[in-house]
Symmetry: C2
């Protein structure tokens, strides 16, 4: 299957297939690649799953025009399989976000600033609704990443935020002052809007310090919960191993 996928890749490379364009019908594509229709169909399913091509039932199969979001699944799985730890993602954030803040302060377009401002307004309006607040906060961070005007950076940030999403849900109840949480983001926005590189960096670093402290509080709470559970079930644990 992988082999067929690579040959479809090479058609894209040669310009014979373009982003957003439709793949030839199965019989032709199978003949073109010199493979059986059943091998082709499997390869296509794999590519659809990977998000590289898109099947529109009744309309055929298309080369995906945009891939950004699909990449975050890998990070999510790596977290799930405990290959990556939350604190490692925060270290990556600490490297990327201040640099993105600097790029954003230099490059943000009117439309980037508009997206961030809209998300900020959404955050302010949902100070009492944590779920809704989080949706807007994520939109704010995506606008922030987009303002770097660099798709490689933006994709990396999307992967990172996607992987962090579950953890964020868990720490949200630990934020005791949503207004101050909102204000930390407002400060980032104002610095970018004023093209103030130094302040944009500082505002982001301050937000990250808060986020990391929150994560540590959550990890500690989880550890205490586990310890409590261990005390409650001494027998069932004793029978294991």
């Amino acid at each position: 299957m992988d082999n067929v996928a690579r040959r479809i890749e090479s058609l894209v490379r040669n310009g014979e297939l373009k982003p957003g364009s439709r793949l030839p019908p199965e019989p032709q594509l199978a003949a073109l690649l010199g493979v059986s229709r059943s091998s082709l169909r499997e390869a296509l399913k794999g590519l659809v799953f990977l998000g590289l091509i898109k099947a529109r039932p009744g309309h055929g199969t298309y080369i995906q025009a945009s891939l950004g979001r699909a990449a975050s699944r890998h990070f999510q799985w790596m977290l799930l399989l405990k290959e990556i730890k939350y604190l490692e993602l925060y270290e990556l954030r600490q490297i990327l976000e201040p640099a993105v803040a600097a790029l954003a302060a230099r490059r943000a377009t009117k439309s980037d600033l508009d997206s961030m401002e809209l998300a900020l307004r959404g955050m302010k309006a949902s100070l009492q609704q944590p779920e809704q607040f989080m949706v807007n906060e994520l939109a704010f961070h995506e606008g922030f990443a987009q303002a770097s005007s660099n798709v490689a950076i933006q994709t990396t940030m999307q992967m990172m935020y996607g992987a962090l999403a579950e953890g964020r849900k868990r720490v949200l109840p630990l934020i005791d002052d949503m207004l101050r949480n909102y204000q930390r983001h407002e400060r980032i926005f104002i610095a970018i809007q004023k093209r103030d590189v130094r302040r944009a960096r500082q505002a982001v670093i301050r937000d990250l310090q808060f986020a990391k402290a929150l994560l540590r509080k959550d990890l500690q709470a989880q550890e205490e919960l586990r310890a409590k559970l261990r005390r409650l079930e001494p027998v069932s644990l004793g029978t294991k191993s």
Copy 2:
């Protein structure tokens, strides 16, 4: 298919399936998830393609123990589809690598230093064989990323290097002094080995400046080639559109 995949994910999340462990036989797994065997089989193929599970013919299907490398395909496709430009990847390198140098100088283990040294020796031994040199240079950069002791960072770097690989092949003939190219890497290694954070950063920044200059030279050469081809084929171009 996506839905079945998500439910397999949730089995991993609950700890019912562990990284590296074997999935239950198809009939049981289908019953467990309440789906038909044919839907299950499709979902599994998708997960295999994505590199999240691994099929060992005759032995069953296993949850992948490690995912690092698979993630780089997304970046490669995005480059291919022109969503990401090479210069954007260099900007990402400029953000990540100096920070990784600092982490590596603080955290590199004996085994990290050994891998980097081995790769360096391979580079020195293949100054006259560009292909072989490149394999060793990539191994050096992977050892460097690993020395950050952060899997999230390491995975991001792998994605980036994987996507850059094709471009590197193209710029290699443009390097006129392979010995100096080797020495730039040796300087990075020595600084990390001496735990000298500042020098490690500087050595990496110098290597990146060289790499970026090389890329610009290559992009310019390509542009000139295209202009030349346009002059050679005025008629065939005129008949298009």
